[in-house]
Symmetry: C2
Subunit: 320 residues, 2 copies
């Protein structure tokens, strides 16, 4: 059996020289970071638990990717540039092949985003992954939830609902042809954090949130903080390629309430439409204008004729 320190060294300690940001990495009581002068440090933490956020037999490589991706998605929603992350890991046993796969998925994404693992903790226990990410953003350009204004356009990046569709299939509640399931599973297991888009939206978007628990639920948090309501045009919602071939009712429900999308939902004034489209194009990300913000409270879903549709939020609640 590997000792704890051997485990850390073998899979997670990748010796790297200090750089402009990371002055001291893994191996001391603390890591030392130097954020860009004059910028705020954006910090977010997410915990993933076996049986709750992923299946016990989840592919460790996909899990390594996803654990970091969902945290980076929070930086994206703030418009922050990723800097570094810590990883705390409880494992039922020191399984070398599991760790090798997990580290591969984790570091592939970290390398793609140009960030380093700067510290962590490993212990024995029921499988649990806790990542804390740090990024930088000028304070007055951060995409907060409370910055939306009445009359703002409502936008969402990428597509919605395929992750939920894949989950339903994996749970035996739905069926899909193999080629569509492959597309949908990619969205469930390998979400792409929209960091580049978030940074490109600095100074353009008024407010943003990432869609992790379902569009209606997450938009609800943004609206609550901004004290506004919204109208969503059902026909403008961007269905994922697998979901696009499903019946209209479940299609709209999955886009509104699916969860695990890790897209950005953001607001910006109508005069910034060209700027939003340029930011999207420059970061190779699709965006859809799905509605607008209103005074008052609540979210109205309307069809092409402006008629209100009876969809309501049933956002995922980890204690529901």
């Amino acid at each position: 059996m590997l000792s704890e320190f051997e485990l850390i060294a073998r899979y997670f300690d990748r010796p790297q020289a200090p750089d402009g940001v990371v002055k001291l990495g893994v191996g001391d009581d603390c890591a030392l970071l130097l954020p860009p002068p004059g910028q705020t440090l954006a910090v977010s933490t997410d915990m993933l638990v076996e049986g709750r956020h992923f299946f016990a037999d989840a592919d460790p490589e996909k899990l390594g990717h996803k654990a970091l991706a969902v945290n980076l998605s929070d930086l994206a929603a703030m418009g922050a540039k990723p800097m570094a992350f810590t990883l705390a890991l409880a494992l039922p046993s020191a399984d070398a092949s599991w760790l090798a796969g997990f580290a591969q998925g984790l570091f592939a994404l970290a390398d793609a985003e140009g960030i380093r693992l700067i510290g962590g903790d490993t212990t024995r226990g029921p499988l649990n992954l806790c990542i804390t990410v740090m990024g930088s953003v000028p304070e007055d350009e951060a995409l907060r939830r409370d910055g939306a204004r009445a009359g703002d356009d409502l936008w969402v990046s990428g597509t919605l609902g395929d992750a939920r569709l894949a989950l339903e299939v994996l749970q035996g509640k739905s069926m899909l042809p193999d080629h569509l399931m492959a597309l949908a599973e990619e969205r469930l297991h390998r979400p792409i954090p929209r960091c580049a888009l978030g940074m490109a939206l600095r100074g353009i978007a008024h407010a943003a949130i990432d869609v992790s628990d379902g569009l209606l639920g997450d938009l609800g948090h943004l609206l609550a903080r901004s004290q506004l309501g919204a109208e969503i045009h059902a026909t403008s919602l961007p269905a994922g390629p697998a979901l696009a071939q499903q019946p209209a009712d479940s299609r709209i429900d999955y886009m509104l309430n699916g969860g695990d999308d890790y897209e950005l939902c953001f607001t910006s004034p109508p005069e910034q439409r060209d700027a939003v489209l340029s930011a999207a194009a420059s970061t190779s990300t699709s965006v859809s204008r799905i509605g607008s913000l209103k005074t008052g409270a609540g979210i109205q879903i309307v069809d092409a004729a402006g008629k209100s549709l009876p969809f309501t939020s049933h956002s995922f609640d980890h204690f529901g």
Copy 2:
């Protein structure tokens, strides 16, 4: 049953205005911090698992204190000033009285150290607490593990071994009179992070580590990073008040290998002895000079006559 968001709001969302450090706290995708200009950000994360780091029936108030204390101890060992922390929490159920007690212990220590909870995550799962702390320290004054020099004095703060003694009693392996057990349990359940001492040692100590897994094991990490050995004078080791009344053999073993002490082990040149004592006095912390650093490798334990004693490290390994 409380919803996840109600849980967070009730126990962990303490609305506070932005201050010089925390520009945005709980409630957005990320928190925003502004570290002091020109200083590095010190970051550490620790995960505590039920059955591994604490008993299933642990007092939640003590657990709240300890979960934060062990993280702050890492900042102390770096000489960093605590700034803020995040908390990720997996809970088997939304137990209001447990949460109230946990929050009380957590925030009492946070308030005493003048730091705020800036973000977090709660989910259902086997009980697991993951805290990430952030502090600030000038890069060239950080108390790293790799800064020790041959000839340095070796120091330790406070006393050692009482936490381990309390654990042995709780596990039924040892017995203590009630008044001594009360002292020992206080050390096990309510460690005091040595943040003030760590900051006072900036510019005085060459290297430091906190003693969490046992003095020999933790000192071994410091020596490995500094590529040195050490000699420890057994008679200079500071026993906790409960341990001081135990037989000599177990007393020395518990001080060397006990774990859960959360004291600082640090090195400084002999010409700084007065400065070390002043730093200790100014922060109302006792310190003991327990040996010195040598070229070569390994740790020798010697008695008053300079004779080598046969104590070896059996440092706690979370996967051992």
